[in-house]
Symmetry: C2
Subunit: 279 residues, 2 copies
């Protein structure tokens, strides 16, 4: 444990992100207590030595932790934050790791946690999920968005940035609303486009093994967790709706050019996409 | 040069595929003659020693080659095949490498080349293009579809399979029509979906650098050559139209579930996509 490390951590949820946090923190010598709704994940984490103590479903076991991390799907995260709040008096930092931020950051304000809570969103996703997908070093060089409550005090933002930097990540501060609007385009839309392509192929009897390396890349995100992504999509529905409509329109316009045998327009669209790619 | 190697090769077009063929063949000791419409590409290939002799624009220089490979975009490939045919009497094998096969294979039949021509399509694409993107080993473990003309003789199919196996590829025989129908889904649709996503992001001012690793994967194909892909899309327009319409519908249905706040349907769609992914 380095001098400026947190003395102890509590993690609620040992999925890809929570599990990887447990591994990284344990390797730094920070004692980790954790809860997971799946007793097998918790048992694995304890057996493999990354989690020192189990927290029971009351979540009262977070009470001694210097940093508390909520690492459950975004639809469950607000409920977890409500439940840990009575036990969180000793925590210098409380954060979460969800892909949408407005709702949980507003709740932190409402619960009076603004001086100790910031929302976090590490861009360290993977199509795999669960404890078995977690690994050390997941956050190395990853961008992490840090979204403070509106009533925040400066110190907690710096503390959160320090937390993520210690794990090798690159933090950037952004308002929760800006975050959600931006991520609708940069993350949630690509996920749904990849999913739609997978569904079109599935409907036609094409298997993923029939694809070349390019097609496999485009469909990789379709392997993500349905629980996690249903929650994200619902939580950011309005912004995602606009993004999806835009992608639908672009697809329809490509098809229109094709049907009109308008090679010049088709070429221009492909060239615009490549110009964007090449920036 | 191995005993069963071709004695000499002529390559028309030194892009990603043609250039990589020149490199692999030269490294096996097969003398390569080549033509490229871009004199700089040809000059680079000669200077770097992968091409022994330049062929001029008449293409008459293919006349001594044991194997002739047409490696230009599919809209130019039929014209090139017509032009080389008078000079191709000595070739044991004539093939191409385009992503659509029905048109060129039918032309080979029409030109009386059925006993020496098969269409080839190596699934070794990349978003980069041109001589500078070409490299040795590109075909290692790559699937290569081999599409014989309807009047083919068995020997030429085996010869083509041997050609590709020598470069480390894994050939599979498929009729040209089946190939084009299948590739509309497995390759051309993913390309256009990736392009549509890139255009939607470009329109919104999102840069590729703003994306996480997942979004970057989904948009990778958007970096492909507009020339190559305009030609492919036009050549396979009917099959691609059906595929694009299916993807549009899937995207619209995801958006519909989102707008109706129908979490169960959204979850079911995400779960279906993941089930397809996991097969």
């Amino acid at each position: 444990m380095m001098e400026d490390d947190f003395r102890s951590a509590a993690i609620v949820g040992l999925g890809l992100i929570g599990g990887s946090l447990a591994r990284d923190l344990a390797e730094r010598g920070v004692p980790v207590r954790a809860y997971d709704a799946d007793p097998q994940h918790l048992a694995s984490a304890l057996r493999e030595g990354f989690v020192a103590d189990a927290i029971d479903a009351s979540l009262s076991g977070v009470c001694d932790a210097d940093v508390i991390i909520v690492a459950v799907p975004v639809d469950a995260a607000t409920e977890v934050l409500r439940r840990i709040e009575p036990f969180a008096a000793n925590a210098r930092l409380i954060t979460d790791v969800g892909s949408t931020k407005a709702r949980i950051v507003a709740l932190a304000d409402e619960l009076g946690l603004a001086s100790r809570f910031v929302g976090s969103h590490p861009l360290a996703g993977d199509h795999r999920s669960g404890w078995d997908a977690s690994r050390t070093g997941l956050f190395s060089n990853a961008r992490v968005y840090i979204c403070p409550p509106s009533n925040t005090l400066g110190g907690v933002v710096e503390l959160a940035a320090q937390f993520w930097r210690q794990l090798g990540a690159s933090p950037a501060v952004l308002s929760a609303d800006d975050h959600d609007r931006q991520l609708a385009w940069t993350s949630h839309l690509p996920h749904m486009v990849s999913t739609a392509l997978a569904l079109a192929l599935a409907r036609t009897g094409v298997e993923r093994g029939d694809l070349g390396p390019g097609g496999r890349d485009v469909t990789r995100l379709a392997g993500g967790s349905p629980d996690v992504w249903t929650a994200i999509a619902r939580d950011n529905a309005d912004a995602l709706d606009v993004a999806l409509a835009t992608a639908e329109r672009e697809l329809a316009e490509i098809r229109g050019a094709l049907r009109r045998t308008d090679a010049a327009e088709l070429h221009q669209r492909l060239a615009s996409a490549r110009a964007w790619f090449d920036v």
